[in-house]
Symmetry: C2
Subunit: 165 residues, 2 copies
């Protein structure tokens, strides 16, 4: 248990920032992106993406499965994995390999592998857009004459709010 008499976290709402808008933006971008590629952004795909975005935390496939079952019928693991695969291929979600979980991509316009900061305390996840990282990794790989295709960079630790003073 944590300390009991902690002050009520008035930040809770602000931490959620403008989350509804944030989801809506993601959905709108996904729609555009699919249209651009001649892909159909179906109801199922929209629902899954919305569920992935519904928290700023990595979403597990079977958690999504449960949530999805609440809003439609005939949902099986296949349904979820297939849809996540679709979204991943279009750069709309990323899989966090070290957690077996999925997050919405915050820069779906750019072709990129995601790089992530993951708080081991609160699970909040942050995609870092730091083009230098890829450049550095490329250089390191070149030293070994290795040709990178996909980068998995997942940094586990403590976000600023979860660090002890």
């Amino acid at each position: 248990m944590s300390k009991t008499s902690q002050p009520k976290r008035k930040t809770e709402r602000s931490l959620k920032h403008n989350h509804d808008a944030c989801i809506q933006t993601a959905l709108a971008r996904a729609e555009v992106r699919c249209a651009q590629e001649g892909e159909r952004f179906t109801g199922l795909r929209r629902q899954v993406l919305e569920l992935v975005w519904s928290e700023h935390k990595p979403a597990k496939a079977y958690h999504l499965l449960k949530k999805l079952s609440d809003i439609r019928s005939g949902v099986a693991p296949t349904t979820v994995y297939r849809t996540l695969d679709f979204l991943q291929e279009r750069g709309l979600v990323h899989k966090i390999e070290s957690l077996n979980a999925y997050v919405g991509c915050s820069q779906p316009n750019a072709e990129h592998s995601g790089h992530f900061l993951i708080c081991e305390n609160c699970s909040e996840i942050r995609e870092i857009e730091n083009s230098k990282i890829s450049a550095w990794l490329e250089r390191a790989a070149q030293d070994e004459e290795f040709k990178i295709k996909t980068e998995t960079v997942e940094l586990l630790g403590l976000c600023i709010r979860c660090q002890p003073a």
Copy 2:
């Protein structure tokens, strides 16, 4: 079955480089390291580490389980995972998150997270010792005031031998 009349691959031996010696070195280092930490390097632990090292490819837990069953009795998933956990905690093996597999650590003396180049064609894996990478990642994380505890860096692509000319 594979093709029957293929030419004998004379490279096979050289590709294996000095692999027996390589394994022996790893085992010897593990023994020293465990002794230093007051841990027991038991028969089971030795066997598992040896199996992990037996190929220069990531080893899957259930593959190790099967191999291990050939040389001792009473082997269950728990046996393997428990032993791999032990070896991981001592820095003797790394888990490759993007493959759910394990590799022997080539620098067990240094405290470090591994950084890997993984060939998607031949599965050969190479741990890159590039202290700059950690430094770079630290810097990127600091920009976000994030405190890294463990780094997962897995670069999937083509090794030099598997690149088209």
